[in-house]
């Protein structure tokens, strides 16, 4: 059992939770928040890079030890081969790059920005590593919810709100139709 599988999702989620809990002491310390968030994204990228090169094709991680027995699989799994781990790694690298870009781009940035970026990263990683279509849908929605919130990051302007509503409704309809496909 390779502990890197759950860590690649747990690290950004825990960092996001910690940033949210510590938002009052970190009120004016924007550099610290940015540094912590970028460090978490880099850590995920390194873990996924390691998974990409060191896993043999088709290595599987079963959560909570629910291993399949007798051809019946009840449980949630992550699978990694060079393609999907590499794709997740690309996502983590792009997320790091966009956080570094946002460091100067936004003149002022709230705690919520970093939290949303990290949950988005966790969603992307889980989406790439998910081992069955059911979990694929769940991770897709997790990723989607963070993405809708990030789209409407500047709610005082007209464009972001309208864009977020359009994006959320269109994307949700698409997700429900793909869920219909999974069901059938």
């Amino acid at each position: 059992m390779n502990p890197l599988f759950p860590l690649a999702v747990v690290v950004p989620l825990l960092t996001a939770a910690a940033l949210l809990v510590l938002r009052v002491p970190l009120q004016g310390k924007r550099q610290v928040r940015g540094l912590v968030a970028v460090a978490a994204a880099v850590a995920v990228a390194v873990m996924l890079l390691f998974l990409t090169f060191r896993t043999t094709s088709g290595s599987v991680y079963w959560f909570a030890g629910f291993r399949p027995s007798g051809g019946v699989a009840i449980g949630i799994d992550f699978e990694a081969d060079p393609l999907n781990a590499g794709l997740a790694c690309l996502g983590a690298v792009l997320m790091t790059a966009s956080m570094i870009f946002a460091w100067r781009y936004f003149t002022q940035v709230g705690t919520y920005f970093h939290v949303l970026m990290l949950t988005f990263l966790a969603g992307m990683t889980g989406f790439c590593l998910a081992g069955d279509v059911f979990d694929l849908f769940v991770w897709f929605e997790l990723m989607g919810v963070s993405a809708y919130a990030l789209t409407a990051y500047r709610p005082e302007e007209r464009g972001p709100i309208q864009g977020a509503l359009n994006f959320a409704i269109t994307n949700s309809v698409g997700a429900y139709l793909s869920l219909t496909g999974i069901g059938i």
């Binding site: 809708y148 709610p155 007209r158 959320a168 949700s172 429900y176 869920l179 069901g183």
Partner: protein, 114 residues
Amino acid sequence: MQVFPFLVVAWIVAVGLYGLITSRDLIHQIVCLIVVQSSTYVLLLAVGYVTGGVAPYFFDISPHAKAVDPVVQALALTDVVVEAAVTALLLSFAIQAHKRFGTLDPHALAELKG
């Protein structure tokens, strides 16, 4: 397998999409999105239904008793949770739109014109 539940699913999707497209109010539009999603509950339960099956709680019945498929029920439950999150987020967007621009009409809100 019966055809009727699938016809109901198709009808709910059609009604929800029609409302979504023709709506002139954001709250109404979000409710229509929930209607589209509720079609997936009907579909999932219809897919997993076994004629004469009981609820899949193997506590006081025999483990070999005929029961409906619990996996799709878990999927439907996950679907409900996802819907709650998405709906809460969309309603907060609608509140922001009303607070900032004083309108809930998606056409009046439109700034980005293609």
